[in-house]
Symmetry: C2
Subunit: 152 residues, 2 copies
């Protein structure tokens, strides 16, 4: 264009910048964790299990804001690589109760290492107080968004 009309301010919005940076770091993170045979959604499931206690697949589908049939596929993979256990609830044999294993916790720790490396690279351009301010703001926004939190 460049015909004198005001340039769009869209790229300066937090919405677009968060969307762009989010996609960027998500791609980097996905690249790193594929060495462990995991996708971001697998990690989201592991995180959910590491927080609360063991949970049914329906409960997890709610927490991850995905459909139950997707939890089946994610859990299949995680069970296959030994990251979770999957046992029928004796009191209600319809329910599959998932729980993190030691191997799952180790995988999660490796993912955390990968994430921290991406953090360090990304935040290198900021001063220490700028980094602290960003972390604070993200923490506030993340917990306000939390009800349905997932990785894309």
């Amino acid at each position: 264009m460049n015909d004198g009309s005001p340039p769009t301010g869209l790229p300066q919005t937090v919405t677009v910048q968060l969307g762009t940076l989010g996609a960027l770091v998500a791609d980097r993170f996905a690249k790193q964790i594929e060495a462990y045979g995991l996708k971001p959604k697998h990690v989201a499931l592991l995180i959910a299990l590491s927080h609360g206690v063991a949970a049914s697949q329906q409960e997890l589908a709610g927490k991850l804001a995905v459909v139950p049939s997707l939890v089946v596929a994610l859990a299949d993979r995680l069970e296959q690589c030994g990251a979770i256990t999957r046992v029928r609830d004796p009191t209600d044999r319809r329910r599959q109760v998932l729980a993190l294993t030691g191997e799952g916790a180790r995988l999660l720790a490796r993912c955390e290492t990968a994430a921290r490396a991406i953090d360090d690279e990304l935040l290198a351009a900021l001063s220490a107080p700028e980094r602290a301010a960003l972390r604070h703001a993200l923490r506030v926004l993340a917990e306000q968004a939390d009800p349905k939190t997932s990785l894309h």
Copy 2:
């Protein structure tokens, strides 16, 4: 788990928080702009056109970090709704030169309004200085990431 092992620090990393929030705002933004018949990638193409001058589809594929065949589909849609023009370069008739129209600029303005509304809602939980600090940090990170910037 909750067996005494340390809980994962993954959700506190900037990587995971940016990824999560980015997906959240991207979804909200996508929801808003579908009223205009646009997807985030369409907006990304319009933004690219509003910045530089008219550009060939190959150049745009480079800027958006997508494959040329995707630019075809995006441009088809944008041309169809009158947001861009698409003319053969007379000096090299292989090239299609895309340019933003007045209607495209108007669409972009509506998208900006939608993004600012999401910004306002999201940032309501932060104080004015916290908002300023976040905007500053995101601006720095966004421009450092910029080479291949897109919306997911």
